[in-house]
């Protein structure tokens, strides 16, 4: 069983989704995270172990390698896809409550901004770190964040913006959120953002890459 867990972790780390997937070339023809996760569950491997001993550590390695410029966005996305294939099999266990996640993360690109690639990348990495991610999409108004917080009051919020003209909307959203949920933690990110701006608008953290956000979130969930 531990062999299966190791194999799944290797598949996720290397972006091997399923047997039909030609990536990575050195694993061509071999089963991927999709088949192996199904097999593991059928053989009685605990879904909690699959999440916490295979998927989360594998994605942690991926995030770490990305932070160190050892891999680039394409490899990270292939890993995220392999992780998502495994997650699909774990879905019923999340719904039943048998597998608990670290917390809920509500993510959106601020109103006025339609960029979603960076946001999506963050969502995948955070989900891979064991969090439930609620992606509100792009051009998100402050009310939508609060509506979602009404359902998940302990959630952490993430805001993304790619333009200097839209980053200022983060301040509006944070003020609106804190008006009803003063304790809510808010993380921000995007090309024009920096630490000074985060302090200026009372965001709790700015991270330059998804892995930085995962590390910060993990500290919160301990």
């Amino acid at each position: 069983m531990s062999n299966l867990i190791e194999q799944i972790a290797i598949c996720v780390e290397n972006g091997k989704v399923n047997a039909a997937s030609p990536y990575p070339p050195q694993m061509k023809g071999q089963p991927g995270s999709d088949e192996l996760t199904k097999q593991a569950l059928e053989e009685g491997v605990s879904p909690n172990d699959l999440l916490n001993k295979a998927l989360v550590p594998a994605m942690e390695k991926v995030g770490q390698k990305f932070s160190e410029n050892k891999i680039f966005v394409p490899q990270m996305l292939l890993s995220a896809k392999a992780m998502a294939a495994s997650m699909q099999h774990l879905k019923p266990y999340f719904q039943s409550g048998e597998v608990k996640r670290k917390g809920t993360f509500i993510m959106g690109t601020v109103f006025g901004d339609l960029h979603d690639i960076g946001k999506n990348l963050c969502c995948m990495m955070i989900e891979g770190a064991g969090w439930e991610v609620i992606d509100l999409g792009v051009d998100v108004q402050p009310e939508k964040f609060v509506d979602e917080l009404d359902h998940h009051p302990d959630a952490v919020v993430g805001l993304s913006a790619l333009l200097t003209t839209t980053m200022v909307n983060m301040a509006t959203i944070i003020d609106f959120i804190r008006n009803k949920y003063p304790q809510t933690k808010v993380a921000i990110g995007g090309a024009p953002i920096n630490n000074d701006f985060a302090k200026q608008i009372n965001a709790d953290v700015y991270t330059k890459d998804p892995q930085g956000l995962v590390v910060w979130l993990d500290r919160l969930s301990v």
Binding site: F72, P74, N120
Partner: protein
Amino acid sequence: MNKFVEYRFSYRELAVSPNAAAPMLGYDGDLPEEITEMVREVMDETAGCYDIRGGYVIFDHSHFNKDGYTLTVGEATFQIGKIIFNQLKRSSQIAAFVCTAGVGIEQYSRAMLAANEPLKGFIADILGGAVVEAATDKIQKELSHNMKAKGLKITNRYSPGYCGWQTVEQHKLFAQLPSNLGVRLTDSALMQPMKSVSGIIGIGADVRFNQYTCRICEATHCVYRFKKVSVMN
């Protein structure tokens, strides 16, 4: 409004290679073979997605004011900042340009992201950018060629959002361009289709084109600087 010189390009004639996407995908040199294969696959699937068009309009009169580093063209006064001001100040004319790859590539990218094909979605997004930059390069070359015939040279191209020129000034720039090109601005000055480029180029007998200008810019977060890519070919 002065005459807008319009161009249309087919995707094929731009001849964008997979490696054109390499810097924005994070790679310093050529793409690894397996990623090249994936890029080619996306290129094949998206070849029919593009509606590539753009052009420029030349303003014969411009006024530079060092106090505030402004440039007045037509009825608009742009606060272009010190960096761009110094690159353009010897210009006798200014060309305002816009170019778009169309909305199809953006739609493909979003569809792939929604279908749990994040890498394809990401590659399409990068390719859309590479295609519109390649088309803008062609327009810039055409402008250069046309000006050379008159004994004039051109500068690099500069866009709101780069080199200290605020993105919000897109609104003033778009007021100088024809509205029928299919590119519109949102209230937050975001161009739609998103894979569009706009900006200005200086023209004159005493101006110069620099091969790489990022070292003069203070925008340390800029993706072009990070990848050491010249925006102006």
